[in-house]
């Protein structure tokens, strides 16, 4: 399987240490415990009254996306899609909604957010991203599945840009995945041509490893590794083992 060349024109991550952007890591303020306490003005310069009503998965995804997109000078819109990895889905919001049902007053606001795909709604609406979307909310290697889909769409010109977003929620008592260590959200804006403001070149090779050997893989760790490499402009080849899927990511910065 041949590799696909992609261009990164924006990225951001919310992690336990702070907010990661091309400008550096901004640590959390003393009253913030971590990504869940993110404030609107830390990720988006303009006022946005709806920010406060975002539930945990929506807030993490929107914040990472907003932080990545508000720093890029790219025009995003009709031909920009979203590929998302969200292994815990909307479960934390589902529980809030169920509570409202049991209390006798079902909340329409909670219900409208009780789908893994609700998480892309606020991003798409605010930034007017009207391209194709795909949401992987479980299964094997959802982060790499989302990246593979983004790369394929860009290569086949089904989209000109794709915002890749990954969200891991650790605060609920329902997390049994290896990524349960910390709440985290990452967003990377990918395009199929190098545009002004391009930060790095990513070569992504999806190759299929047909095996029933079960290899655990911490996608949060791997993709935070990608973010750290991007921040330090470190050339790197990151390979990914996994059941039924193997790929690698290679990062280069010549001329950017």
């Amino acid at each position: 399987m041949s590799s696909i060349k992609l261009y990164i024109s924006g990225f951001s991550a919310l992690h336990r240490d702070g907010i990661y952007t091309p400008d550096g890591i901004t640590p959390w303020e003393s009253d913030q415990k971590g990504p869940l306490d993110v404030r609107r003005n830390q990720v988006l310069p303009s006022p946005y009254p709806s920010f406060g009503k975002l539930n945990i998965p929506d807030r993490l995804a929107f914040s990472a996306a907003a932080s990545a997109l508000s720093r890029t000078n790219q025009t995003v819109g009709e031909k920009t899609g979203i590929c998302m990895c969200i292994p815990q889905g909307s479960l934390s919001t589902d529980l809030l909604y169920m509570d409202s049902v049991l209390n006798g007053f079902p909340s329409p606001a909670f219900f409208s957010a009780t789908l893994p795909s609700s998480t892309i709604a606020d991003i798409a609406i605010f930034f007017k991203l009207k391209g194709p979307d795909r949401i992987f909310c479980g299964g094997d290697l959802p982060g790499f599945s989302a990246l593979d889909t983004a790369a394929y769409w860009l290569k086949s010109r089904k989209a000109e840009r794709v915002l890749w977003v990954a969200v891991w929620e650790s605060s609920g008592d329902f997390t049994e995945t290896p990524e349960k260590k910390t709440d985290c959200a990452i967003a990377i804006l990918l395009s199929n041509t190098p545009e002004s403001g391009c930060l790095a070149e990513m070569e992504f090779r999806p190759a299929l490893l047909l095996t029933s050997k079960d290899q655990e893989c911490n996608e949060q760790e791997i993709f935070m590794g990608v973010i750290n490499s991007l921040m330090k402009k470190r050339e790197e080849i990151i390979s990914v083992p996994g059941r039924g899927f193997r790929g690698y990511i290679s990062l280069r910065y010549d001329g950017y």
Partner: protein, 86 residues
């Protein structure tokens, strides 16, 4: 009426979890839906739940709803006329 308007302003902000908005920011005579607060149809439905839960007030139909949400003052007047809980 002023007191009820302030109270309702606070309830709108907490029920809808609006950020960057304080009760004194809400213009008493400006429309609640659309521009300004950026409320949409789901917010309207959520406010209807809040009105029933906290004031025992229901809104019979869409037309009544348009009047009720036409401003904070109109909302307070409607609640004052129809409330069943203290």
């Amino acid at each position: 009426m002023e007191k009820l308007m302030n109270e309702l302003g606070g309830k709108i902000i907490s029920a809808l979890k609006l950020s960057d908005v304080k009760p004194e920011d809400i213009d008493a005579d400006a429309p609640l839906i659309g521009a300004g607060l950026g409320l949409d149809s789901i917010d309207t439905l959520e406010l209807l739940v809040m009105l029933e839960k906290d004031y025992g007030v229901t809104v019979p139909d869409v037309n009544a709803g348009r009047k009720v949400f036409s401003s904070l003052r109109a909302l307070a007047e409607y609640v004052q006329e129809n409330r069943q809980k203290e």
